[in-house]
Symmetry: C2
Subunit: 568 residues, 2 copies
């Protein structure tokens, strides 16, 4: 008898398991069941559908050859049976059956399986504050909800929006609302920065600045207390700890929770992060039941701890592994280093590994460098600045994470991906200094930005470079006393000299060796130039004559502008 | 007494050693000597200067803050002495001196060193055929020569050009000539493909097609027999084995030779590839003499053999290592996996590791896959196709190389760099299937192209995918007998059905399961679709019913178009 495989969930991982397995074992009888009528879609495309980059919702569930991935497609092209609008309600592990409930007829039925795959995904969390279930408050649970929102926007019913949650989806939604539709958009994030689980403070500040420049009103360090309808005006109001915002629509993007009810009720092991536990072959605690995608937890290969990571790319790769293993092969998913990228308006942002804060919480003694450098050879016309932060463990020099942003998103991705794939090999700062990335002037500098962030971290660890973060500098400088030594040309420095007088020393690099006597020896001095190299060189020179109370502003003036465009 | 360090050569590695060492040891007395008057320049920028992307030659020897890197700069900004137009003529290792010759005064002088660094670079080879030294034949030896050529072009004296050598520089020069100046340009390469040491046949064919589409007349498998001046017309003529080409200018780009005369005469060890031998600390056979950059040979970390690799990025990283080591540190350069990238008109091209041919020559039993896939999510508007080839050793599944091309150059670089940095860690096909690159629809597919080329190679190794290269298919098909099964929609297939009749079967994917009886069982059948997935699926389906004489066309119709745009 052919092998019976039942897969619960038909969005990303489920269809991947089904199609791959059918190719490996054309005899297998594979059934996909899903609650929804739309299946096999790219949920991560929703913000681009809302923002108008994608006109037709159908594009999100069509192949690259524009063939709609529906029941007909799976049956005739893939040889896989799909049952939509059917809910799996329980698993009987002893008898190897699941019970399903037809959502239209409410008829119950049993399906027999030899192998079962749980691809139940995750559901956006509805936060506990009052009003989170009002009519014009959306969770973005499904394509249908996306369609509803787009209809509202198309009909001109949305002039104002509030997005709650400054994670990846929240930011993508902000862009969708603001960019095409010109909707006045507020973003509310309870942590003190955007993308708090993804980025450290420096790059996150750059992202926030960019959001603000694009018109998004970003409110960090604030939280929603309730959403209510103003009795007089009928307007929806989002009330936070600090203010009240009238709005036409609210999008809640406060994270997702893995759908594990079925697994739990069937007695499968659940991990500490709340996801289904699987081994490296993606098997649950029952060897006949596999699970993958957003409903499982994964080993973080840097921290060693399990974590949730809802990402379509992980789901797809896990799906292939599950199919191989169901067919008797042996394929492994070791875990994740949390590689991630996102487009925020004109800025590409990417990261892998741990943020500084996460590294500390995990028990490392982390140290990091931040640089600004052109992504392409500086003499090549289309270059844009990259802002990169590299994090390592102080004692072992082992790389713990990397974060970057820049206007050429693919160039940002190139730097981060190259470090990301090395993370699980336990590489050190020295490996990044010598990393062999491709070089040609239209695509890189001879000393690539990613090598240079390694070099900078090497210099920090060697005590040659004594850095300060831009936001710490700005805060400290604006509070009063400390001085700046600006090693740029006088033309560039003069607006600052005019404003700050004797607090803003300007000695261009070529004069510094001859004017060392002008430098104050016993007070804190912040060193700045365009992007960092000249201020670093100044720091080394000053140290050689005993002037050591200096701090080199990481990323230079380029980073100041990304942090506070109004600084001067 | 402070340490005396003398560096011969002041282009890439020399200045890097000098500046870094001065920061590490501010007391050191460092002297850079160079034959030329222009120093510390980005030689790889020359094609972009010729092509007009860079207007001013000075940009190539200025910092990102537009400060000219000349003697004044090195003295005042860096504390390093530079002597230009001075030639080093010999090394006395016993007395630790070098003899230099002032090219203006022809006065000789001795310089004492504690440590000597050879950064003598490489010189373009003048090929042995007659006429290679005619007046309008250029080698691109220096910035001065670049300036001469640009002056000729600016004055309108160049309507026709012949570029000899289809390596990286040859291709960049072709673009520079054709793109801005509209010069009728011939490219002559003696191997049967462009970029013969960098790419396998598939990607190289795509590059050749692109060059031709941009107007370059590419002549592979041909070689120059002589260059002469036609006595009657005064015209320069390039005579090859196959034809004669009248031209206004000839650029010879037939490779470079490391400058090792000084080292040889001083009795330093020279390797089999003709470069100076250095250890992992970049020391020559004399521990007081370091060498790096284009004049040394490097370990190829895949083949284990030494090779020459003239690249500014390697020189810069080696320079940092040499400085660290001269200062008493311990930093290593392990070798190279030959990571490379190049812009060819609108196409970004990158590679790392060995080509299929090199892998065979090295003694591996290589196998490879080729795919075409969108670089970004296919539903995201700005996606472009990536063409990727992945090469592995059959038995061990160890990755030996990767090559890629596509219109988003940074996206090409992202894929190749991520695999490149893994090569020295001895990763296998499975590691590429599961490689964790960043995913977001504007930058990648959920199953990234780089994962998919791994998956395809995995399927080939498992015997599920039985591939044929596009150019083999085209050649075989055009010679006569074999048939094609086209699984695309009939609309797309109809021009082919009209032309090839019964040799071009069309069964759209959704009908194939029901029309298996129409498939010829005992004759070779080439399977095609847009980019490859549907033809692969068809191959698996046909195999399951015993039809196994099929070959899946790698990269599908997208690759056919890149190989032969006139195929139909």
């Amino acid at each position: 008898m052919p092998k019976q495989v039942v897969i619960i969930g038909a969005v990303a991982l489920g269809p991947k398991v089904a199609c791959r397995l059918k190719r490996l074992d054309p005899e297998a009888e594979i059934t996909l069941v899903d609650r929804d009528d739309l299946i096999s879609y790219g949920g991560c495309g929703i913000p681009y559908y809302l923002g108008g980059d994608i006109n037709d919702l159908e594009d999100l569930y069509s192949t690259s050859a524009h063939i709609r991935r529906d029941q007909y497609f799976f049956k005739h092209c893939k040889g896989v049976k799909v049952r939509t609008q059917v809910e799996a309600t329980s698993i009987n592990r002893a008898e190897k059956t699941i019970t399903i409930n037809d959502l239209n007829s409410t008829q119950e039925e049993q399906l027999q399986y030899d192998k079962l795959v749980l691809a139940t995904g995750a559901t956006p969390m509805r936060p506990p504050f009052p009003g989170s279930d009002l009519e014009n408050v959306f969770l973005l649970k499904s394509l249908h909800e996306a369609e509803q929102i787009k209809t509202l926007m198309t009909k001109g019913k949305v002039g104002r929006a509030v997005v709650v949650g400054g994670g990846a989806i929240g930011l993508e939604i902000c862009e969708a609302m603001t960019d095409l539709w010109g909707i006045e958009t507020h973003l509310i994030e309870m942590e003190d920065q955007v993308l708090p689980t993804l980025l450290g403070k420096c790059i996150a500040r750059a992202v926030k600045t960019h959001l603000e420049e694009k018109g998004v009103r970003v409110m960090v360090d604030d939280r929603v207390s309730r959403i209510f309808t103003d009795a007089k005006t009928g307007t929806t109001v989002v009330e936070t700890a600090k203010t009240s915002i009238p709005t036409d629509i609210v999008i809640l993007a406060t994270g997702v929770r893995p759908n594990t009810e079925l697994a739990k009720e069937a007695g499968l092991a659940i991990g500490n992060s709340g996801g289904i536990l699987v081994d490296r072959r993606m098997r649950t605690s029952d060897p006949n039941i596999y699970a993958g995608g957003d409903c499982v937890e994964l080993r973080n290969l840097i921290s060693g701890e399990n974590m949730l990571m809802a990402l379509g790319s992980l789901a797809n790769r896990q799906g292939r592994i599950i199919a191989t293993n169901i067919n008797g092969g042996s394929s492994h998913f070791d875990g994740t280093v949390g590689t991630f990228c996102i487009k925020v308006f004109d800025l590409g942002v990417a990261k892998a590994g741990l943020t500084f804060r996460q590294a500390k919480e995990t028990g490392f003694d982390p140290v990091y460098a931040v640089i600004s450098q052109a992504d392409h050879a500086h003499f090549y016309p289309q270059s844009e600045l990259l802002y990169i932060s590299l994090i390592a463990e102080r004692k072992t020099r082992k790389i713990l994470g990397i974060e970057a942003a820049g206007k050429h998103g693919d160039a940002v991705k190139a730097r981060v991906d190259a470090v990301a794939v090395l993370l699980k090999h336990g590489v050190t700062v020295d490996d990044i200094c010598n990393m062999e990335a491709g070089y040609a002037p239209p695509y890189a500098s001879a000393m690539d930005a990613v090598n240079n962030v390694g070099n900078t971290l090497d210099n920090i660890l060697a005590g040659l470079n004594s850095p300060v973060d831009v936001y710490d500098f700005i805060e400290h400088f604006q509070r009063g006393t400390p001085k700046v030594l600006d090693t740029r040309a006088t033309k560039e420095a003069s607006p600052f000299i005019n404003k700050y007088g004797s607090r803003w020393l300007n000695i261009p690099q070529d004069q510094l060796r001859h004017r060392l006597q002008e430098i104050p020896k016993d007070e804190l001095l912040y060193l700045i130039c365009d992007t960092g190299p000249r201020s670093y060189e100044a720091q080394v020179l000053l140290a050689s004559v005993g002037i050591t109370k200096t701090r080199n502003i990481q990323g230079g003036f380029a980073m100041v502008k990304m942090t506070d465009p109004h600084f001067i």
